[in-house]
């Protein structure tokens, strides 16, 4: 199932640094909580007292009371034992509180780690859709695995603590009754424990193999259950059934192996818990001869049967299964590095607060130099040797079929992705490495999935603005931004900027409007809209894009969802695998067949041969603009005038039209 899949996305991007293992971390965790451990021990002593008296009081009750004919003394000793039981119970209650002080911080730490990893490690991936899978994983970790870790850890501590203090009470009791008893009891007890401890590791391995097999089954059957229609349709019942059956068999084998190791546990309990009883009886004549009283013998037998044996059984049960469970879960949670796994951008941990700096006029707002990027060493590059200049105040639209790497380009410009080679600069600042923080303050990226969090609308809108200083925004500015991008209707509907927004209650389009207004308010001069308007209708999209085009000092890069976005831009970058072309709309219509297709010109007579039954007069194919929206007159942008330039190394790009004016970089 989802939770069993480790965060593969994080693993794919960037290597993880070396970290201390879960074991070392556990030791450190306990060492930091020495005081709690002492408290735990102190209250556990009461439990030892109860154990101690369970045998000792019985021995004295017999020797001094019932066997001596004095009922009062006998009952008094037993009453004392009962009192010890009550005290022990009180101690147990206190032990629970001490456990809280040990276990709750562990849970807090695990929750913090899961959240830190999830928040820091997500994003920057190839597609936005990856977030959904990662989300279920993270939530499962948060609600399920962290709780398993918490419960198992608590169980382990409780049981091992209980064993230690019960054993201590019983052994002290045996010593008090007659030191010579220990001679008989200790060797088999130690032997049994040693046998168990020796088999703990191989048994834990079997247990882990079983847990893994069980998860594999859940995962496989989960895929089968949700893919029944596809399995039937593909006629793949046999291979799919064989695969799932194989996993069931694997678990069966693992369970059988585990059951066989269970025998060792029974033997260890037999040696450690039951053999001392037999030895005590065998040695009874000798013990009785050495002055061990009847009561002492009965007390010793009581210790063995009522205290040590059950404690031993619980210990072996808990360590045998719980230990492995904890190890598996902790290892999985440990896979979530507290530092975020290095998947995110190399930004400062705090919010990058832009200080309202305007781009240096000398350098282009965005420049890419021979940038190559691939999602893995063996993967084909998504972007290869790409060069691109977008001057300050420019307006570039990026178009291409889905999955071709448009969002990757946005990620590269934003510095979320590290190119394999080449360099990306925003307003002259390198987006990775030394200039990353400065560059991050100069651009704002609004992705397709608009992020709106529960809180006030104003909080959401000021998300990218500093609290004070030149970048801070007044309520009037908020209203103006809302008006500009088309959020005004929602703003008045929910009751002003200080009304709470419930992201779930908003439509995808409304969330996008909030994100757009947020970007509009941000002091960053470079705005990257990565299909940020895809849930808006064409008119609303046009309004929002025009707002950004009019925003002072703004360089706009739009990953276009519709061709109308491209028409509004000064330049269009057409991505189609290796064939990257850049130019004006009209030029591209002539030069790029793909752009023609994209621009909705594919219903023309030239294609009609392929389209059975779709004649040129077909009403559905009549409109040439796929959007049905008339192109918007290009706004007069500051710095307009042929500054959007794309270039590429030899052979990587088709030169389109006016690229020649940058001869130094121009492709041939």
């Amino acid at each position: 199932m989802a939770e069993s899949a480790p965060d593969k996305k994080g693993g794919r991007i960037g290597a993880r640094g070396a970290r201390p293992g879960p074991y070392a971390e556990g030791i450190r965790f306990l060492r930091e909580r020495r005081r709690v451990l002492w408290r735990l021990a102190a209250w556990s002593v009461l439990e030892s007292g109860q154990t101690f008296l369970s045998g000792y009081a019985l021995a004295r009750a017999l020797d001094d009371g019932f066997l001596a004919g004095d009922r009062g003394i006998g009952l008094a000793w037993l009453g004392l034992a009962a009192l010890a039981v009550a005290l022990g119970a009180y101690g147990t209650g206190r032990v629970y509180r001490a456990m809280a002080a040990l276990v709750e911080p562990l849970r807090d730490a695990l929750v913090r780690r899961v959240v830190t990893h999830a928040v820091g490690g997500a994003g920057g991936g190839r597609t936005e859709g990856g977030g959904a899978g990662g989300g279920t994983t993270a939530v499962s970790r948060l609600t399920h695995q962290v709780e398993i870790a918490r419960d198992t850890f608590a169980g382990l501590v409780m049981v091992s603590r209980s064993f230690v203090f019960v054993a201590a009470g019983a052994l002290v009791g045996l010593f008090s009754l007659a030191p010579v008893l220990l001679l008989v009891v200790l060797p088999p007890l130690v032997l049994g424990l040693a046998l168990f401890l020796a088999t703990l590791r191989p048994m834990a391995r079997r247990q882990e193999a079983f847990l893994e097999a069980d998860e594999n089954i859940a995962e496989t059957l989960g895929a089968v259950a949700s893919g029944l229609r596809d399995i039937t349709a593909a006629g793949a019942e046999e291979p799919v059934g064989a695969d799932a059956g194989g996993r069931i068999d694997t678990e069966y084998r693992a369970a059988r192996a585990l059951a066989r190791w269970g025998v060792v546990r029974v033997v260890a309990i037999g040696v450690g818990g039951r053999l001392p009883v037999v030895l005590l009886l065998v040695a009874a004549p000798w013990l009785l001869g050495r002055g061990v009283t009847t009561g002492a013998l009965v007390g010793a037998l009581a210790y063995l049967q009522q205290s040590l044996l059950p404690a031993l059984q619980s210990l072996m049960q808990a360590l045998g299964t719980g230990g492995s469970r904890l190890a598996v879960v902790v290892r999985r949670l440990a896979g979530t590095a507290p530092d975020g796994g290095g998947a995110g951008p190399a930004l400062a941990p705090g919010p990058a607060v832009p200080d309202g700096t305007v781009a240096r006029p000398t350098s282009p707002a965005v420049e890419l130099r021979a940038v190559t990027f691939a999602y893995g060493d063996r993967a084909a590059p998504v972007v290869e040797g790409l060069g691109l200049d977008v001057p300050a105040g420019g307006h570039l639209a990026v178009v291409g079929p889905s999955g071709i790497g448009k969002s990757t380009l946005a990620g590269l410009i934003a510095g979320l992705l590290e190119p394999r080679s080449g360099e990306v600069r925003v307003c002259g600042e390198p987006v990775r490495g030394s200039g990353a923080v400065r560059a991050a303050a100069l651009r704002v990226l609004i992705p397709q999935e608009a992020y709106v969090f529960s809180g006030t609308l104003a909080d959401n809108l000021r998300y990218l603005c500093p609290q004070a200083g030149p970048g801070a925004r007044t309520d009037a500015e908020l209203a103006a931004a809302a008006e500009a991008v088309g959020l005004d209707v929602l703003l008045s509907r929910i009751g002003g900027p200080y009304a709470d927004v419930d992201p779930g209650a908003l439509s995808a389009g409304e969330r996008q409007l909030i994100a757009l207004a947020r970007a509009y308010l941000s002091p960053a001069p470079v705005v990257l809209l990565d299909e940020a308007t895809c849930h808006l209708d064409p008119a609303a999209e046009a309004r929002a894009e025009r707002a950004f085009a009019r925003r002072p000092g703004t360089t706009l890069i739009v990953i276009a969802h519709r061709v109308s976005s491209a028409r509004r831009a000064e330049r269009v970058l057409v991505m189609d695998g290796r064939q990257t072309v850049c130019g004006r709309h009209a030029e591209l219509l002539e030069r790029s067949p793909l752009y023609r297709d994209l621009a909705g010109s594919w219903g023309g007579p030239g294609d009609s041969g392929h389209l059975l039954g779709a004649g040129a007069s077909d009403p559905a194919l009549a409109p040439r603009d796929a959007d049905g929206v008339h192109p918007v007159a290009r706004p007069g942008l500051p710095g307009d005038g042929g500054h959007v330039v794309a270039y590429g190394p030899v052979g990587q790009m088709q030169a389109a039209g006016d690229l020649g004016d940058r001869g130094a970089f121009g492709g041939q």
Partner: protein
Amino acid sequence: MASSIPADTTAADPATTTPDGSAGRPGERLLRGALRHSAGRVVAVFWFTTASAAVGLALPAVLGRTLDVLLADPHGAEARRWVLASAGLTCLLVVLDALDSLLTGTANARSIAWLRRRLLRHTLSAGTRAGRRTAAGDLVTRLVGNAAQAGTAPTALASALAAVITPVGGLVALALIDPWLALAFVLGLPLLAVLLRSFVRDTTDSVARYQHSQGEIAGRLVEALGGARTIAAAGTGGRERARVLAPLPELSRQGHRMWRVQGRSAAWAAAIVPLLQIAVVAVAGLRLTAGELSVGSLLAAARYAVLATGIGMLVGHLNGLVRSRTAARRFAPVLAEPATAYGTRSLPPGDGTLELRGARAVRGGREVLCGVDLVVPGGRCLAVVGRSGSGKSTLAAIAGRLADPDGGEVLLDGVPLPELTHDALRRAIGYAFERPALLGGTIGGTIALGPAPSPPGRVVEAARAACADDFVRLLPDGYETPVADAPLSGGETQRLGLARAFAHEGRVLILDDATSSLDTVTELRVTRALAGRLLGARPRTRVIVAHRAATAARADLVVWLEDGRVRAAGRHAELWALDGYRAVFAAPDVPDGPDVPDGPDVSDGPDVPERPNVLDVPDAFDEPNRSEAPQADGGVQGG
């Protein structure tokens, strides 16, 4: 090979073929099957657990007697005999416990694996219908969790006698040693239980609050993850972390509270057994002083008192059995769907003509297809359009026998689909869906998925035809990338689904909204590939459920469904004159709305001809029951 699956299931498991309606019966029958499957082990478990319980009961008495004999004459032969007997019984107990542990473990594993295999096989052969009554997640719970619970039923049943013997035997033994001891126990137990109950606190409240805080953190986390890219770009990870973790102190507070409440309850509950034991020992001591009881008997009594408190464990054991049975009952809905039966015929040579004759389908008591008749000539493309809920997907499912019609029949090249063998049917008809499930492990594997895997060359070819090759090559390991490692967009997933349909040779392709997430260019490329000689074969017959007008426009024929009936059929260009038809594409639920081209303004009015153009479509649609399909009359005017 594949066709043997359902046959095997039906032959071996009568429960699956005769669903008698009574809830739980098939599940219990399956459980009995599991019991039979591990009969030998279960019988052995019965003997070992029962013997172990008997030995465990005898041991305290023997130990007590040994002690008495030892105290009387430590060095006598009788003492030696009793010590030997104690040692022997102890060894026997260990051996029996070990065997019991081994056999119970293996028998459980065996039953669970058997149940899962059975359920899996049945689920696979019932196919889509198995998922109709049970949601996918629920189905997994049944196959994984419930099977694990139900699988322990045979051994739980086998050890039931042992579970009864121990506490009852303990009480009887107390009575046999001295009736006063049994009395002390019987009176003490409820008294203590009532006394200690007053200490037990209800933890429900703190648990609920704890879960609430936890849910709040999870909710905030989900929100933040949805905005992962924004957060990464804005570098606000630290702020988000603080926001998500804001309810953590409250979670911690409730956690501490839970421990306190639990501690109070657990502590006092744990005191019950020792206090009862002390009470019994006190009575035994009094009897000892009175000379009515030996020291050994006192020792035995102390042990029996503990064994007798095992009555609580008996309740637990019974609960376990009930849980197993309940779990088994949850198999019933899975088993209620009969396995799909396949025929024995193979396909005669043909061009892939698909024919629906009076096809009816009922879903949830509602008729979603009401006698649809149509013929798709071989190699032609039929588009099925209509508003959501009009029966498009049901028609697509029936056309390729993902489901059988509730009335009427479907023929491929003259052969009714149920008469075809599994392999003949599935090889002939390929499917692609709006949201394909990507099984098969790797990207390549998911494309190759079929009765027999497609060769790698064909996989790449199919991927190319589906415009998937480009993005697959961008993945870290290309076609070898595990599906789980590949973050795929909806459009990419659809392209893989299309590639899977393309990778297998066949006569018919059914696309159930399978291009809805593709951009227009990619969709165009895919449909071009479809119309051409796909992978060297002749053009296949295509049935395309479509939302976009452009898709319908490219089809040879369009059938317009409304409320399960064919409202009109013909070419897109001809149907476009109908207001109602245009409205289908303007519906707000149409995905990628902007990609649907607007039609020219056609003045709405009643001047639309009756049954427009339907009859002009040459030999495409066979409508023998026109009187039963009044699609044209009301439909056209109502638009």
